[in-house]
């Protein structure tokens, strides 16, 4: 077969080919085409980043309306609009939807959607059609290969029942007897946004799940180094702050040390910043249990771009050097389908493991769902309750399908997590459209999520941070800060927007929260307004978690009083000032309303002094480099 046209290649890259097998067979073997495809994908990634930044009008929540009102208003509106658009060249008949005659059932794109998503297979699917509001039947263009049946009822017909060889468990819609109350009043169609400032007279407590992930920082670094502004959605302040190491000492006894420090806020001197520094106990390398690690490697086509798969292979080779001969590794891969390549094999038989990993080449599309199923099955087969059991996913995310890991899959992962199979997600490659799903997976799988963009980053994850990556000292760890309304007027938790836990669930041990590994540090920052001339306790910070092994719930706490508040920001510890600088940088990148007046030049200075005092020159250099790029991209206030 001669090389396909560029248009065909682009159709392939964007998933618009009816049958991609022949073209795929060619491009898998043809270096020239693979190169063209990889060029196209880079363009598509840029377009994705730009498309994510396009502002859409927010669908403002509407009061609940009774049904007849809705239709009256909708119909009225349409009449008005219809009149507005009257033109002399109209056709007499209202247009039928393209491709569908009213009253007929269209079975289009045989298996198209299902194949693209790689989720639903099986020949026969029943489709109940949606009826239009005024009772006219409307053809639903669902991908159905079986016969479709129509239901004429109003409202009870919006359901789609898909039966097949592998039925998925039924999701749980709201209970049927509860009246539908329209759009929830606080609903927006945007990302978690920025935590609001809370008045302690109304609510004095704040609770969230600990998060030791750092992927957001590494991902933003890659964007900046390539000269692009990272998408605001991709910035999670806590992951920026937690990327850096602080001078918080390990606890002399117990699992966690909690350190509290407060000084004037860098945003506004009349306010204060409270730093909560959590440090988990260390574990000596020899104290760690052997690990059974199931590697799940994404070998889909997109892994070819930017040498992602090669980076994964190199990282796995490095990881093998760092593991013990008695640790075990299983290897699974996935593209359109998933395969187990190697049963759990001791690291002493390294050649066998490398023989499975080395020949991997990127191909076809991404079916992360099936990949996870196969990997968790392999991890279950090799499960040993006396050891650490972990699945490690290497992926650039889910190409073309957005956030489509079904809820049933996430539930299954949560169940395996509860049995003691943990998940590590290693993000590789560019594009935050995959970031969200990888983060969700890590959270559900009691796991951690890191992003490796370079071999140096992989060396950090598997070298100095290996123990923290593999082992765990606290499960479902939650933090609760209880402010005293007599001394603190308002508070705002900076970051952790998507780690929120309801206050009353702090002691509900069924609630899934964060996992913390040995030596991990977690920093939380609160911006608080003190009441004038205040004395006494400001806040009590509690941490609650399950101890692995004993499964016992443990709670610790620490308080800080007004007398301990430092008068000047420059009196604060280097750890405090570095965290404050990193926070401001992240807030500028995510466009937080609090950070409008932040000068990045000042942030750079603060970070420089703090990092020097802490003897972390390398971190300081990197941070300053990124701040400089951000300034060149015209972020932050101009001085």
């Amino acid at each position: 077969m001669s090389c396909p046209t560029n248009e065909t290649l682009e159709r392939l890259a964007l998933g618009f080919l009816d049958d991609e097998r022949d073209v795929r067979k060619h491009t898998d073997a043809c270096a020239e085409c693979a190169k063209t495809l990889s060029h196209m994908r880079t363009g598509h990634e840029a377009l994705t980043a730009a498309a994510k930044r396009v502002k859409l009008p927010s669908l403002a929540p509407r009061r609940p309306l009774s049904r007849p009102h809705v239709w009256a208003i909708a119909a009225g509106l349409l009449v008005v609009v219809g009149l507005v658009f009257v033109t002399p060249h109209h056709s007499p008949e209202p247009p039928a939807p393209p491709g569908i005659a009213p009253g007929t059932v269209a079975a289009v794109e045989k298996d198209g959607l299902a194949a693209a998503k790689g989720e639903l297979r099986g020949p026969a699917r029943e489709v109940n059609l949606l009826n239009s509001v005024d009772g006219d039947p409307v053809g639903a263009t669902l991908p159905a290969t079986g016969l479709a049946s129509r239901n004429r009822g109003l409202y009870d017909s919006t359901g789609v029942t898909l039966g097949g060889k592998r039925p998925m468990p039924e999701p749980k819609p709201a209970p049927p007897d509860k009246p539908f109350t329209g759009l929830p009043g606080d609903m927006t169609f945007k990302n978690p946004g920025v935590n609001p400032t809370t008045d302690t007279a109304k609510e004095a407590t704040s609770t969230f799940a600990l998060d030791v992930d750092t992927a957001s920082y590494t991902l933003a670094r890659k964007y900046l180094r390539e000269g692009n502004v990272p998408p605001a959605d991709a910035i999670r302040v806590e992951e920026f702050v937690n990327y850096f190491r602080y001078h918080d000492e390990a606890p002399p006894v117990g699992t966690f040390a909690i350190r509290l420090e407060a000084a004037p806020s860098p945003y506004d001197e009349s306010m204060h910043l409270l730093r909560v520094g959590i440090r988990a106990k260390d574990l000596k390398a020899k104290e760690r249990k052997d690990v059974v690690l199931t590697l799940l490697i994404d070998v889909s086509g997109s892994m070819a771009s930017g040498g992602r798969l090669e980076l994964v292979k190199k990282s796995v080779r490095f990881l093998l050097e760092k593991l013990r001969p008695t640790d075990k590794i299983a290897v699974c891969t996935f593209t359109t389908y998933a395969r187990k390549l190697l049963d759990a094999t001791p690291v002493s038989e390294k050649e066998k493991i490398l023989a499975a990993v080395d020949p991997l080449t990127p191909q076809n599309s991404t079916n992360v769902k099936e990949g996870l199923e196969v990997a968790y099955k392999a991890a279950s087969d090799a499960f040993d309750a006396k050891l650490t059991n972990r699945v490690m996913l290497f992926s650039d995310g889910v190409a073309n399908t957005g956030d489509t890991v079904p809820e049933s899959m996430l539930d299954a992962i949560s169940r395996d997590a509860a049995r003691g199979i943990f998940l590590t997600v290693m993000g590789v490659g560019m594009g935050n459209f995959n970031d969200k799903i990888l983060e969700t997976l890590a959270n559900k799988g009691n796991g951690n999520y890191a992003y490796i963009d370079t071999f140096d980053e992989a060396k950090k994850a598997f070298g100095e941070r290996l123990l923290g990556t593999l082992d765990i000292v606290a499960i479902d760890a939650k933090l609760q800060a209880e402010f005293d309304p007599a001394t603190v007027a308002t508070f705002r938790l900076v970051g952790y927007e998507n780690r929120h836990v309801a206050n009353q669930d702090f002691r509900n041990d069924k609630v899934d929260a964060g996992e913390v590994g040995p030596g991990h540090q977690v920093t939380a920052l609160y911006e608080i307004r003190l009441k004038p001339d205040t004395k006494g306790r400001l806040v009590t910070v509690r941490i609650r978690f399950k101890e692995p092994g004993t499964n016992e719930m443990i709670e610790d706490q620490q308080s800080i009083s007004a007398a301990q508040v430092l008068p000047k920001l420059k009196d604060a510890s280097p750890s405090f000032r570095l965290a404050s600088a990193v926070m401001q940088f992240a807030e500028v990148l995510r466009g937080s309303p609090r950070a409008k007046e932040v000068s990045l030049e000042r942030v750079a200075d603060e970070a420089k002094f703090a990092a020097r005092e802490m003897d972390r020159q390398a971190d300081a250099d990197e941070f300053l480099e990124l701040v400089k790029i951000a300034r060149d991209l015209k972020l932050g206030r101009r001085d």
Binding site: L59, P97, G159, V160, L162
Partner: protein, 160 residues
């Protein structure tokens, strides 16, 4: 999955599907609300939905087409400007641009072209999903997308 997470996760794409069919911002906002109400209503019943994504896209597309059909007179849908082939090698164009300029260019595009690009690149829909939502064949959906990409590229070659 409860109704709230469905709405916050899929609100944007419901809106984009609706707007790409209606090509009118204000009307699209209203019809999107209508579609979301229907989705909420269905979730409240005994509905078994095993593939939320295609189900929601279908409802969005159908609601929009209903709205279009119920108009007594046919609306002239403006045809996007004709596209001159970009003379610069394709990938170099998208690759070399700053994300900021790409975003601005996208925002300035005529709505039909812009929305199909957003469905693909922002919402990450697959080809068959776009075809399904817009109620057209896969090759017609490709025509729309490829025309939109050509238009985008030709706009990028214009002076900023």
């Amino acid at each position: 999955m409860d109704w709230r997470s469905v709405a916050s996760r899929y609100g944007d794409r419901v809106f984009l599907v609706v707007r790409s069919i209606l090509r009118d911002d204000t009307l699209a906002l209203d019809v999107s609300q209508e579609a979301l109400l229907k989705i909420g209503q269905a979730l409240n019943g005994h509905t078994r939905v095993e593939d939320y994504e295609s189900w929601i896209l279908t409802i969005a597309g159908n609601t929009a087409r209903d709205a279009l059909r119920r108009q007594t007179r046919r609306r002239e849908v403006p045809i996007d400007e004709t596209v001159a082939e970009a003379r610069v090698p394709e990938d170099a164009l998208l690759k070399g641009e700053s994300i900021e300029r790409l975003t601005r260019t996208l925002e300035a595009m005529p709505s039909a072209s812009r929305d199909v690009l957003l469905l693909k690149f922002r919402e990450g829909l697959s080809g068959p999903q776009i075809a399904q939502a817009l109620g057209i064949s896969l090759s017609a959906a490709w025509q729309q997308l490829s025309r939109a990409m050509k238009l985008l590229k030709s706009k990028l070659t214009e002076k900023p």
